[in-house]
């Protein structure tokens, strides 16, 4: 019998401790590495705009999941060391050298931690691939959705593994440095007592959460709108106010108990409450991490829904079901051909309008931001579309009165003014082929989403006489043709819409082969100044190109096409959001489960004592249930409430209004929360059963 054999036997006997630590490490590695592999896959990296909000949000979520998983594993490790302390203390008391014991401990840790880290990392690749595959099978399968492996994901996983190992090493060293044998011997039975929690801590916590959300989400938008000054990056620290509030709310939920108006409830829960109070700090930290993960779950899912809605709902308010536009010089489809195609597909047209627009050089005032986040007005020069008042009245069905030298801006239906460009932004319109300009007067807005869609910053309406003056001598290159029509049962006309799109792409020439944001005047100015023009070049005009509608300047608009291809257009983003949600949900579920099991294990003796005092099975069950309910309910409620507030403030302060589709998105978020509650309830039931088994009831 040697020390090695003794250690081996103790390890076998205490395999539950090792298994728990292993599960924590394996799951953390699996979740973070598979997330990183997915995020750093070239398929995702190419889809995310560089420097865009989506990319920033993804980083935020990756960091949040990594921090959550790290804390989860540290919690598992601290449990491991706590249980190990008795063994360590006995050995020290019997004269074992600390040096020798730490050598054994680290050798054991190296072996077990190493195995679980490598297994987690190894499992991450097939798991990320399988989830991707599942998504393609169940949701959408496009060319863009090919899984491509990115080595950066593995490096990110390795980086996390190093961080994880260092943290466990740190805990191990701290454990060994506790030289006081008495403390080590007592550590397994040591409980922590918190200071009395003030009765106002919950109210203060809620106040801090609301204030934190307001400070972090609303104040930066308000300063921009009121003072034209963005807040510095350090302002993000105001999130800590929210975090402090969350801590207080959870702490009071865990450790506060007063008779108040319901003494029956107080006495009924007295055992559970006091059991939780003895490990309040640890439990609170744990529950805060779970809340953070629930926040990530909801936020990520909401973000996916937001992406989908922003594409599908963008066209639902348009007055025309279909609208096409193309350079007047291009031989595209006319009324007769479109009607023939419609007839071929059995589509009945209910209205049909055609009009011309002039593409004129304008100077307009927009807004930009400098490096100090100061917003300032700047004048831009580019092309914009102009239609005559009579044409607009014809297609919109509403009277437009304009005198010479006046203009109206075409806005989208129900859409609020953007911060970046005011409706009265137009400073001057240049006559074609000359330096002469008109400085028109703003007379308000008119609405037609179909026209608003085709010109940046806006399309404009001119009085007929001004329109005629600008049209004089303008070449075909300076004109565009617009076709707008409605059909019966638009959502049943997908085949016709697809055929129309195919026909248009087939007829498109180099004249119209441009990116959506391409502007001939901007290109001209850039080249004259010797700058590169970023929107130059041709796009893939094949009808199979899933990004055609987003990329092509002259892509036909159709409600049915937009709806049908919306998922294709945002598939990568939706996949990513579902993936992040799934990962965070798994982590949150696991953490809550492990915490519940720990409670049952730690209090096993107390349950026995309660039985000796005459408690029946039902009472012991209730003691367990009350604790588990708190562990599950509070973080889920807090996470959902904070993410709900976040989404509400985000959507409102984005344009200082709530549109119908945004309200729909928020409703969808509530449904998502209900789904999360459902899943967590399932985990709670499982944890309750296992805890009951451990408690012997």
């Amino acid at each position: 019998m040697t020390m090695h054999k003794i250690t081996e036997k103790l390890r076998r006997k205490n395999k539950d401790q090792y298994r728990l630590l292993g599960i924590c490490i394996f799951l953390s590695m699996l979740l973070v590495s598979s997330f990183a592999m997915m995020f750093f896959s070239p398929s995702i990296q190419e889809a995310l705009p560089p420097g865009g909000d989506t990319r920033k949000l993804m980083w935020l979520m990756l960091v949040a999941v990594a921090v959550g998983c790290l804390l989860f594993t540290l919690y598992g490790s601290s449990l491991f060391f706590r249980q190990k302390s008795r063994e360590f203390g006995v050995m020290l008391a019997l004269g074992a050298e600390k040096k020798e014991l730490s050598r054994q401990l680290f050798s054991e840790l190296r072996a077990s931690v190493g195995i679980y880290i490598l297994s987690g990392l190894a499992a991450a690749l097939p798991v990320s691939y399988l989830i991707w595959l599942l998504f393609r099978m169940l949701v959408i399968d496009t060319q863009q959705m090919q899984y491509r492996f990115g080595i950066a994901g593995v490096f990110a996983g390795l980086l996390f593994a190093v961080a994880l190992s260092l943290c466990i090493l740190f805990l191990g060293i701290r454990f060994i440095r506790r030289a006081d044998i008495m403390e080590i011997l007592n550590a397994g039975r040591k409980t922590e007592m918190i200071r009395e929690i003030s009765p106002w801590s919950k109210k203060l916590g809620i106040l801090l959460i609301v204030s934190g959300l307001f400070l972090a989400m609303a104040v930066p938008q308000l300063t921009v709108r009121l003072f034209r000054q963005g807040m510095p990056a350090v302002w993000n620290l105001t999130w800590l106010v929210c975090a402090a509030g969350l801590y207080l709310v959870i702490l009071s939920a865990v450790g506060q108990s007063r008779k108040g108006k319901h003494p029956e409830t107080y006495y009924s829960n007295i055992i559970s409450t006091n059991l939780m109070r003895f490990a309040a700090r640890q439990t609170t930290r744990n529950m805060c991490v779970i809340s953070l993960l629930v926040f990530v779950i909801v936020l990520s899912a909401f973000w996916g829904v937001m992406y989908y809605y922003s594409v599908t709902e963008g066209g639902s308010d348009m007055p025309y079901d279909y609208s096409l536009h193309y350079p007047a010089g291009e031989a595209q489809m006319g009324e007769e051909e479109i009607r023939e195609l419609a007839e071929e597909y059995g589509v009945e047209m209910t209205s049909f309008e055609e009009l011309d627009s002039l593409e004129l050089v304008i100077r307009y005032t927009g807004r930009d931001m400098d490096e100090q986040r100061r917003y300032f007005d700047v004048e831009y020069e580019k092309l914009a579309s102009f239609v005559s008042a009579s044409d607009f009245a014809r297609i919109s069905g509403s009277q437009v009165t304009l005198g010479s030298g006046e203009y109206r801006t075409v806005a989208a239906e129900g859409s609020p003014e953007s911060f970046w460009t005011d409706y009265d932004c137009l400073n001057a319109i240049r006559f074609s082929g000359s330096e002469e300009e008109m400085k028109p007067r703003f007379m308000g807005t008119v609405e037609c989403g179909n026209l608003n869609l085709v010109s940046d910053p806006f399309a404009f309406v001119l009085a007929d006489e001004d329109y005629r003056r600008f049209a004089e001598g303008i070449s075909e290159e300076g004109k565009e043709k617009h076709i707008l029509f409605n059909v019966k049962h638009v959502m049943e006309t997908y085949d016709f819409a697809d055929a129309l799109k195919q026909e248009m792409t087939a007829r498109a020439t180099a004249t119209s082969n441009h990116y959506t944001l391409y502007d001939a005047r901007e290109e001209e100015l850039a080249l004259a100044e010797g700058r590169d023009y970023s929107y130059a070049g041709e796009i893939d005009l094949s009808p199979d190109n899933p990004r055609l509608i987003q990329e092509w300047k002259y892509a036909p608009f159709s409600k049915v096409l937009l709806q049908a291809e919306a998922m294709e257009m945002v598939a990568v983003f939706v996949l990513l959001s579902i993936y992040v949600s799934a990962i965070s949900l798994t982590a949150a579920g696991m953490m809550s489960y492990v915490r519940s099991i720990t409670i049952a294990m730690d209090n096993r003796q107390l349950f026995e004592d309660l039985k000796k005092l005459g408690a029946d099975r039902a009472y012991v069950k209730q003691v367990i249930r009350v604790q588990l309910r708190r562990i599950f309910a509070y973080p889920v409620a807090a996470g959902c409430a904070i993410s709900g507030g976040f989404s509400l403030l985000l959507t409102y302060f984005n344009d200082m209004s709530l549109q119908v589709f945004e309200v729909k998105m928020l409703m969808a978020e509530i449904l998502l929360m209900a789904a999360i509650v459902g899943v967590m309830y399932g985990v709670y039931r499982g944890a309750y059963r296992t805890a009951g088994r451990i408690a012997g009831i």
Partner: protein
Amino acid sequence: MLQVRHLSKSYTSGSLVYPVLKDVSLRVEKGEFVAVMGPSGSGKTTLLNCISCFIPHEQGSIVLADQDISDLNETELARVRNRQMGFVFQDFMLLDGLSVFENICLPQIIARRPVVQMEEKARNICRLFGIEKIMEKYPVEISGGEKQRTAVARALMNQPYVILADEPTGNLDSKSCKAVIDAFLQAKQELGATIFMVTHDSFAASFCDRVVVLKDGQVYGELTRSGGRRAFMDELLNTIRTLGGDSDDNA
């Protein structure tokens, strides 16, 4: 064998300093069975923890077999604990994952002694304490008395100069308590063990050769057993009563 000279120890809480041991001196001879008694807060357990070097002391020295163990480094202390001291704790401190036999072997396993001799010795000690039938059992499968006898057996494995016992009968019923005291007496008589026991149990202390009484961190007095056990216990109870302290009387 064991000498405690002018030992002082205090605890601090914030800016307050609480002296727990005040200039305590005592001596335990080879083969002697000595108990320390006293009311709660008198410093009994602190004294034992200082002697074990589990906690540091501020003044004084502890001499074990002519060696001052107060200023030993960690490695030297580990060696002293393994070879020269044996410990018996109130809550047994057996490793649940090891059998009774393996728990008893632990001190020699740590000392890397030859296996054959170690096992032979462990078997002999088990036989001596009447626990050979439970050798293969695990702590969870045996009674409190058996656990403590196992702990006494473990403490004797390396033939230490002294056995330090902290409330060894504190968690036991009177029958088990007697069995553990018998184990100590057997160790003293048959193996010549020196035992230093902290207890508040007058019944257990009445089996000792001598009892040191502590009060408020100081040695209040010493009682040496000269006659029968019952008379000695009465004497102990009277002394404790005059101190106004707590004591269990299992007799």
